[in-house]
């Protein structure tokens, strides 16, 4: 292994930056003084430069022929997917509102229907009972004067009255 030079880590970093053209003027002047004064630093700078040049020996990387086409196709697919999902989003917004509104109306109608049917079927209507008992109500005074139901039935059988005067069936 190559022995380390007497440069401090900061000086070594400055030397590398100097070789890369990245050092500010003041620091560059300081490194140039060091280079002028020390053969060891000059040697160090030379080795660092050669090392950097050796990186050019790295194997050249060849891109596969289909890479460009494959990448542009992937981008095209991405664009189509994005525009497709955008259209769905734009389309689904009013659709969603319409479905919600229609659903609300249906629910309202269904609730009204159920309400109507349940009140009509299970809650007794008082007027129905009155209509059913109307013949009795209309003749209640007459019935009150009759003391015996058997007498009334006998009277009915005698056919002295019209059909309209018949006693209601109980």
């Amino acid at each position: 292994m190559e022995p380390q030079s007497s440069l401090s880590p900061e000086q070594r970093a400055d030397l590398v930056a100097y070789l890369d053209g990245e050092l500010d003027h003041e620091s560059a002047v300081a490194i140039e003084r060091l280079l002028a004064a020390s053969p060891e630093v000059r040697r160090e700078a030379e080795l660092l430069s050669r090392t950097f040049e050796l990186l050019e020996e790295l194997p050249h990387v060849a891109t596969s022929k289909e890479f460009t086409a494959r990448t542009l196709s992937a981008i095209k697919v991405n664009r189509i997917e994005k525009s497709g999902s955008g259209a769905v989003r734009l389309w689904s917004q009013p659709m969603r509102r319409a479905v919600v509104a229609a659903g609300s109306v249906c629910a309202l109608v269904a609730a009204a229907l159920v309400g109507y049917l349940s009140t009509n079927r299970w809650i007794p209507d008082r007027s129905e009972a009155l209509i059913r008992d109307l013949p009795v109500i209309e003749n209640v005074d007459k019935y009150a004067e009759v003391e015996d139901i058997a007498f009334l039935r006998a009277l009915e059988r005698s056919e002295m009255f019209n059909d309209s005067d018949r006693l209601p069936e109980f």
Partner: protein, 215 residues
Amino acid sequence: MIGPDLERYVAASDTSRIPYLRDPDVQLMLRAQQGDEAAFAELVQTYQDRLIGIFRHLLSDQDAAEDLAQEVFLRIYRARDRYQPTARFSTWLFRIANNLASNKRRSKGRRREVALNIHDSGPIGIQPQEKLIADKSAFMPTRQAAKSEMREVVRGALESLNERQKMALLLHKFEGMSYSDIGVSMDMSAAAVKSLLSRARDSLREKLARYVNGV
């Protein structure tokens, strides 16, 4: 060719404050932002070899390098609507590349950790990169080393660097990026890049001493 919208954009912008608008690749990206597919294809063609080259050296795997390069271009394409020319285009592209490479390294590192555990109790240990280089070097006297062998040694030396050193070195050497631009791409200060590159160059110099001393 610059479209009328882009011309208006450039004219309306203060180019002294946004110097990157003069970067031709930034102009291509702005055209791509306005829906010019040909401009984006031109960017892909301009950067694909460079990007795959960097990834190939970082990952030592051609297929993985191409997959990652494609992912970089896809991310750039997806982000085009939000693109702002706040840096050179290449700086932005390599920032995305660095982030993706970091993620890839992390997942690869987790897999390697498992693999190392398997071999821990086995008779064949993992050979450190330096030992591999030394072994190769022992059979290759500097003056007689064939060019292909030299490439392998340099590649081995590069692989012995840590991932950040490698990335910074590749960006500097092959992309000619300044310390400041590397800092933006790697989310570091220019001073940290300087220190990173100095350590990388020292490490390479030690590993390649046999070759550079004899030249």
